[in-house]
Symmetry: C2
Subunit: 284 residues, 2 copies
């Protein structure tokens, strides 16, 4: 089961999930000034980073919005990026946060677990309920997994996720319990279900309450670095075990800025990746 593999990998090399949220302003000068299409520039940037870091990360996360923003050329860069990282043996999370009714979810599953955009893990918004999630279940045995939004890292996440219910617990806690419940029949040998949870590092107290009701859930944790989270915060959340992957995007892929604008840029990304790993694991 794929979440077993991701958990094993995170425990072996460290929990860094490198986010390829590529943007035009992130490109080093030597790529930016090339006379090629913007999507090709994105792919060249990503490929150099994947080559420099694939042995040091638990997984890659590719934020599809950054590619949709560029239209067809961006979609081609997305396709090539996901495929290239997978061809290196890496686990890839396509951060698509899709969420729709059953028949539509079936189409999204087909779109991202098969064909051109085939990935290993999709992020999913479960606000529409179980029928927005269950169409992905047949892919579990094909070594696919999901991360469902539970408590996101952004300032506005409280607007609806923190609403207090009549049983005096927040909506995010209700979602957390459901996700754990939905995943229970599929628990793998690692003890985790294939339905992971996205929980932001920016709300550490909430995280601990969530962890309590999700003992078999592996986490995708945004909020490290640029969003304020530190290695020490991760360690508090993890406790004794690496029970999730920690994403950093800008903090890693722009780590070369001010140091070089040339082909050696990816070595700085690697350095930052190793530093982040150390910054987290030294507390464990």
């Amino acid at each position: 089961m794929l979440m077993d593999k991701l958990a094993a990998r995170a425990n072996k090399v460290g929990p860094v999930c490198l986010g390829l949220d590529t943007q035009v302003s992130f490109l080093p000068e030597y790529i930016a000034k090339k006379d090629i299409d913007i999507g090709e520039k994105f792919f060249e940037f990503n490929k150099a980073i994947i080559d420099a870091t694939f042995d040091a990360v638990a997984c890659f996360k590719v934020q599809i919005a950054c590619y949709e923003a560029l239209g067809m050329s961006g979609m081609e860069a997305f396709r090539k990026t996901v495929a290239y990282a997978r061809s290196k043996g890496s686990i890839v999370i396509s951060d698509v946060k899709r969420g729709d009714i059953s028949s539509t979810a079936t189409q999204y599953a087909k779109g991202h677990f098969e064909g051109d955009f085939e990935t290993d893990i999709m992020t999913i918004n479960a606000y529409m309920g179980i029928d927005a999630v269950s169409p992905y279940f047949p892919y579990i045995e094909k070594e696919k997994a999901l991360f469902l939004l539970v408590k996101t890292s952004n300032p506005g996440s409280g607007d609806f996720q923190d609403i207090l219910t009549d049983s005096n617990e927040e909506v995010y806690l209700r979602v957390a319990k459901k996700v754990e419940e939905w995943g229970a029949p599929y628990i793998g040998e690692s003890g985790y279900t294939p339905l992971g949870a996205v929980v932001g590092l920016t709300y550490p107290e909430e995280f601990l309450r969530i962890k309590e009701v999700m003992p078999h859930t592996f986490f995708l944790i945004p909020g490290y670095g640029a969003q304020g989270g530190k290695g020490e915060d991760v360690a508090k959340v993890f406790g004794k075990n690496i029970c999730g992957v920690v994403n950093s995007s800008r903090g890693l892929i722009c780590a070369y800025k001010g140091k070089t604008e040339n082909e050696d840029f990816a070595s700085y990304v690697r350095e930052a990746t190793l530093f982040m790993n150390e910054d987290i694991t030294k507390w464990l």
Copy 2:
């Protein structure tokens, strides 16, 4: 403001939103057997339907999942479909249900309100809060609008949307109030805000409660036809005014099935569209 235009159009020609949720099994034989790429087949199907119905519908809705399912070829069909419908002067809703943190939402806005995939209206999942929505606001003055998920039409919509809060109202009602509040500063001459709401026809009582707290909101209403909703149900929700558009996808674009497999298929789609319009407006 775009929602003014959509409201005016729905009041003039009727509230039908024709959903281009195209799937392989929906294609008539004469298109299915052509020796062209699957995306080209989808576009040929959609183009014939748009040509046959654009004067009879309030707007078109294009469900991106059906196109993502086909990879790059599907994305090209999506691009061409949205662009073609807009070139006929139609208002197009890209049913993408995106929802992500501010910086990512900015990328999605760029992706669907500019460039290759430029559309008029995006559907948005607001579960992540205000910062997942506000990045789209700068596009309001560029004649763009949103439909935000409030209470969806699917059976599982109750899982989280119906959770009772400590103030004894459901989560969807809390979302409804927030969406009305966020849109208030942008009310147009029609009295509607540019932030519409998606509310399923399948829950008519809930709809009336939502309408009460959303007096300035225009609705996108799924659940008619295949999902069980009838013209009479729409009329109950509308009251005296057409205050939303009513989507039907399969019920319209597959209306030719059993009647023809040839070029004349779109005339049956038109007929079904006119029938749906009549089925709703006769009760008003």
